[in-house]
């Protein structure tokens, strides 16, 4: 069962909303599908993202995956710890492995996203 305080995309990103800001990362399922994460490419602070736009790339030994913004907003910060320790994405996908922090442009967009139960159902099929 994935954390219930988060919402999810069908591309396996999670988002934790607090006020008009939010934190984004990828789920444990995504991380385990990719394998050992070796590199995460993240945008610069200040970049504006549209909903579903690509905001970066996550790379494992044998695979690569684009990262898609769950909602539109401006990038406030990125997780510098991932530069030296990309394995945080595998070990603490919902905590220390967070990727970007954004200011929400349109808070209503989170309604389009999956809740924990819906996401669990999605990965159960997959």
């Amino acid at each position: 069962m994935v954390p219930t305080d988060l919402r999810y995309t069908k591309d396996h990103e999670w988002i934790r909303v607090d006020g008009d800001e939010a934190t984004v990362g990828i789920t444990e399922y995504a991380a385990s599908q990719l394998g050992d994460i070796v590199f995460v490419e993240l945008p610069d602070a200040g970049r504006k993202l549209g909903q579903h736009a690509t905001f970066g790339v996550v790379e494992s030994v044998k695979a690569v995956s684009d990262l898609f913004a769950p909602v539109s907003g401006e990038v406030l910060a990125t997780n510098d710890a991932l530069t030296g320790a990309p394995e945080l994405v595998n070990g603490e996908p919902y905590g220390g492995g967070w990727m970007i922090r954004i200011r929400l442009e349109n808070p209503g967009e989170t309604d389009d996203l999956l809740d924990a139960a819906a996401y669990d159902a999605l990965i159960a099929e997959g």
Partner: protein, 476 residues
């Protein structure tokens, strides 16, 4: 079939296991209308006859000329150890090391190659090889665009013409490549015009991603690399140095004058001329650009038991994983030639490599003086290492006549740059450690005779123009 494995009955055994009378059933799925017409090819030749044929073909090439031809491919003495090691089947019949547990030979040798070239270039990251100097240069130019997200690249006109043409072919999908003109006169004639470069860089509406210049340049001249790099960096462009590896034993390496990327041709490192390849595309960069560099990379790691081992790494950049998002489509590279270069460098050592470069410089100075003495002075005044252009009236015709006298007098520049009038009466010549004083004397004497209108020995004076040679002079 020359290498077929089947003894009598073997094919039948397999057919029987499959329950078919012959292989035709296995090709039934090719639609009738699309089945091939007969393969109209010469009949197979048993090895003895084929060997004779190949020998006859090889013998139709002339190998007896005193050669002063460089222009991107240089003859050096390759210690026989190189080729004898290269002929081990474990080296040349091995595949790409995708299964590292049984490819540690190849993998370690590539790591060592990366280290050797990295040391020569004074740069951090070296690709496991690219096709040749031209393709490596084109990929370097593309790297600058990806890294800076800009679309315009400036290439000095004194970079090898083939390399410039290759960059032009690789660009053209919306990316722009422009030439930096050369200084026409004075001390710096034939080198990149810094004032013109500064002007080209100043257009802020069309920011430049990368600036490319050669060291030595195509005319053999030394360029003001540090200044070119400064000008590039001042506007946020990257600097690409196009270099010749043997010269790096004695010339300042790209890393020392601020190059972000270095590209070049590794053929001089013990690889035979072979009429065009296979050669060795050198491509190196600073650490900051490691994720932009195309091609394979080998790194060090450990195995489960703690043994040191080598493995292809940062693979996710490559085409089989990244597919349409890959930086480059390169798959097969020039691995065996990288091995040859490594063995060459290991066998010669730093002092040997230095001696190769320095001896070439000595012979080249001898050549310069010998040619000037018979009326063929240098075209440009600036310093050179072992290659330079000389002024010769009617250079193409003189080149042909020298060929008749057994001298391959470098390259008539008009052949490779037919539209450049300033190069119409010039030959590009070089010398290396294997050029002998005898050959130089022969070249000078023959040139002297030709310029003075004297016929070759054995032909009567006044017999008119020497016989025209078969086959036209070609453009390259």
């Amino acid at each position: 079939m020359p290498y077929g494995p089947h003894a009598a009955g073997d094919r039948e055994r397999m057919l029987e296991a499959l329950g078919i009378p012959d292989v035709e059933a296995l090709f039934d799925d090719i639609p009738e209308a699309l089945r091939a017409s007969r393969l109209d090819l010469p009949e197979p030749q048993p090895e003895l006859e084929l060997a004779a044929r190949l020998q006859a073909l090889a013998a139709r090439n002339r190998t007896d000329l005193a050669s002063f031809l460089g222009a991107g491919v240089y003859r050096h003495w390759t210690p026989p150890a190189v080729d004898q090691l290269l002929l081990r089947g474990e080296w040349y019949t091995a595949y790409t090391p995708y299964q590292p547990e049984i490819s540690q030979g190849t993998l370690q040798s590539i790591y060592e190659y990366e280290s050797l070239i990295g040391e020569l270039m004074d740069l951090d990251v070296v690709s496991a090889s690219h096709y040749d100097g031209a393709a490596a240069t084109a990929e370097a130019a593309l790297m600058t665009c990806r890294a800076t997200r800009r679309e315009r690249v400036l290439v000095s006109r004194a970079v090898h013409p083939h390399y410039r043409q290759t960059v032009a072919a690789y660009f053209g999908g919306g990316l722009e490549v422009e030439e930096i003109p050369l200084v026409a006169e004075g001390e710096s004639a034939g080198t990149t015009d810094l004032a013109a470069l500064e002007l080209l860089l100043a257009d802020s509406d069309r920011p430049v991603a990368g600036v490319l210049a050669g060291q030595p340049n195509f005319f053999g001249l030394l360029e003001p690399m540090a200044e070119i790099g400064r000008l590039a960096h001042a506007v946020g462009a990257l600097f690409v140095a196009v270099v010749e590896p043997v010269s790096l034993a004695v010339l300042a390496p790209p890393g020392s004058y601020g190059a972000d990327i270095a590209a070049g041709e590794g053929q001089p490192l013990g690889i035979a001329p072979q009429y065009g390849g296979p050669y060795l595309g050198l491509l190196a960069s600073t650490d900051a650009l490691v994720r932009q560099i195309p091609g394979r990379l080998v790194g060090m790691t450990t195995d489960v038991d703690g043994r040191r081992a080598f493995v292809m790494t940062l693979r996710a950049r490559e085409q089989d994983i990244r597919r349409d998002k890959a930086a480059s489509n390169i798959c097969t590279n020039q691995a065996l030639l990288a091995l040859a270069a490594s063995i060459y460098i290991a066998t010669l050592g730093p002092h040997g490599l230095r001696d190769v470069a320095a001896l070439g410089a000595v012979r080249a100075a001898e050549l310069e003086h010998a040619l000037a003495a018979v009326g063929a002075p240098r075209l440009h005044p600036g310093p050179y290492l072992n290659e330079f252009a000389v002024r010769v009236p009617g250079a193409r015709e003189v080149h042909r006549r020298l060929l008749d006298r057994g001298v391959l007098a470098g390259l008539a520049l008009a052949d490779i740059e037919p539209d450049d009038e300033t190069l119409a009466d010039a030959l590009l010549v070089c010398a290396t450690e294997i050029t002998t004083s005898d050959e130089i004397a022969r070249f000078a004497a023959a040139l002297d005779d030709i310029l003075a209108g004297r016929p070759p020995v054995g032909v009567e004076a006044g017999a008119g123009a020497e016989r025209p040679t078969a086959g036209a002079v070609s453009s390259r």
